[in-house]
Symmetry: C2
Subunit: 341 residues, 2 copies
């Protein structure tokens, strides 16, 4: 079988490897599709070389079918369509002990800290499986993982139906958050500096705004009936996006920090105090988020056709990374690792 | 009657003024004690001259007795002991309309935006009155207002009994937060760079820590059973205090921003994301906070004797400000405006 490996220095090599049988409590998955995300690109660019063991098989957004069962695995059968919630936690750290195992302090994020789904056969602990409906095609099913991120982010916002929500940044996660928030009853405004992404958001039926346009923040107030938004999602990972998100909030508004901000950021804490705002970090997902994401993708609420920009065969997996890194107009790129059927 | 007025250029003048009868829906209060707070000092130092109309009668922490009733006031009698919740809201802005009138966008904070309690007779809308128990002496009763701030802050933290809470900054508000958090069932650690304030906190039975000492943050982890604190209150108004508070939090910890931070502050948002932390601004109080504060002060849970450093007669009110501004070892300074009886 073949696997696509990050081999360092910005390169992906597709190589033949021997498939090993699943260990006890594991299943072997015949991977159908694996999505590439921004974090995978960071790895490719060498930004996570201290964390990733090179060569590394990346990939944590996927769909496939069970191809084999390790000893002791029950409740699953060969042929079952599945996706994987790629989190292995320790069970004993303070995060795990407080019911937050998804942000375990020794988290093994499968596909980064251990081998991922950019291969034809993938062995994973059966405990990580998430069942897919038989009626759901496997290409859109590869979007369950990023949808689960969005579900988690919206849950962290404690969104109430009817509230006004601003999404700052219209990449795949931003658009998925917008979709989930709309399904949960929010009025959604998507702000994005890139006109192509803004156009995609508009095509999906969202109100859109260029946050760099003069007076843009005041337009948020107008859009939100003079009050500002109840919720903002910072998905741009930029200082400007953060400022915009914070400035767009109504009294007692909640800002969910989704984007990754390695440098320290400046925040107008006086505004946080004055308006009694809340900022909440949101990272990955919990099992109910994943299950809800399956429902949403299977139910047609997620515009997977618009979001999947391209499907690349495993042979040319590096092209999937190059396509994503080109930016302009590209949303989600999938690698087809095996059969749909 | 006499009033102490901020007359600009850092000065307080005690002058004779004519008492006016209470208007309709107002009461006249014979003020007994008025506390001086950090905001009053800011006003004295000219930092709020754009907001305050000079000359200004300051004072919003007080106790007294009703001395006269305006037309249409019911439910109150001359002689009733009272304090005042010094917030007048507009009722129509988005904050008021969303049930957050305490942070009304046109808030009139009585004692800053309109005349306050540093006078012998004070007319206020009857709607602002808060009843005091007849058994509560009026000097400690002047601490109800800052205690209401602390009650509000602890409520914003959504504290659960048994949780570990760190209070960064042991001025009067910090110590009141520590007291309220302890009453609500928290294990409390007070961190403070000033040794005199740290000693006061220790005398009140709190665990204390010098946050500037080497390894201090790791000591918080140790103190909190290796996990970090569930809640931190930033009451120092400093970048260092903010950093310390954020760094001291456990996974899913909540930081309540109590201190005022006029400059933009740097925040490690990656930590907020990674640990799914929450930051919440907390400003003034709502009516239930005030009523709870009366209960706590009357119930003896608030160490008012330790907190009241000095009581100054109205004649020499400026000395109360000078005493507070001297810092070292001074907690709360009250001005005695009239009779206790």
């Amino acid at each position: 079988m073949y696997a696509a490996k990050y081999v360092g220095r910005g390169a992906i090599a597709v190589v033949e490897v021997e498939a090993s049988p699943p260990a006890a409590a594991e299943v072997q998955i015949a991977v159908a599709y694996t999505g590439i995300c921004g974090t995978d690109l960071h790895v490719l660019h060498g930004a996570m070389d201290t964390r990733v063991s090179v060569p590394a098989i990346l990939g944590h957004e996927m769909s496939g079918r069970i191809a084999g069962l390790g000893a002791g695995v029950t409740g699953w059968a060969v042929g079952d369509p599945v996706t994987v919630m790629p989190l292995c936690w320790c069970g004993s750290c303070p995060a795990c002990q407080s019911g937050n195992s998804h942000i375990c302090q020794q988290l093994n994020f499968v596909g980064i800290d251990s081998p991922g789904a950019l291969q034809q056969r993938w062995n994973v602990p059966a405990a990580l499986l998430v069942r897919l409906p038989k009626t759901l095609p496997l290409a859109p099913a590869a979007l369950v993982e990023p949808t689960a991120v969005a579900v988690h982010d919206v849950r962290r916002a404690e969104l109430v139906p009817g509230e006004a929500a601003v999404v700052v940044g219209a990449g795949p996660i931003g658009l998925l958050i917008a979709c989930v928030a709309r399904i949960e009853g929010a009025r959604v405004l998507v702000t994005e500096i890139d006109w192509l992404r803004r156009e995609t958001a508009a095509r999906l039926g969202f109100d859109v705004l260029d946050p760099a346009a003069p007076g843009a923040v005041d337009q948020v107030d107008d859009w939100a009936a003079g009050a500002g938004a109840a919720v903002a999602f910072e998905v741009s990972s930029s200082q400007a996006g953060l400022d915009f998100a914070l400035r767009s909030l109504a009294v007692r508004g909640r800002l969910v920090v989704v984007g990754i901000h390695p440098p320290r950021r400046e925040i107008d804490l006086h505004r946080v105090f004055w308006r009694e705002l809340t900022l909440a970090g949101a990272r990955v997902y919990q099992r109910p988020d994943f299950e809800r994401a399956v429902e949403l993708v299977a139910g047609g609420g997620i515009p997977t056709e618009t979001l999947i920009s391209r499907i690349e065969p495993l042979d040319t997996a590096e092209a999937a990374f190059r396509c994503l890194e080109s930016g302009q107009g590209v949303m989600k790129v999938l690698v087809k690792c095996g059969s749909d059927g």
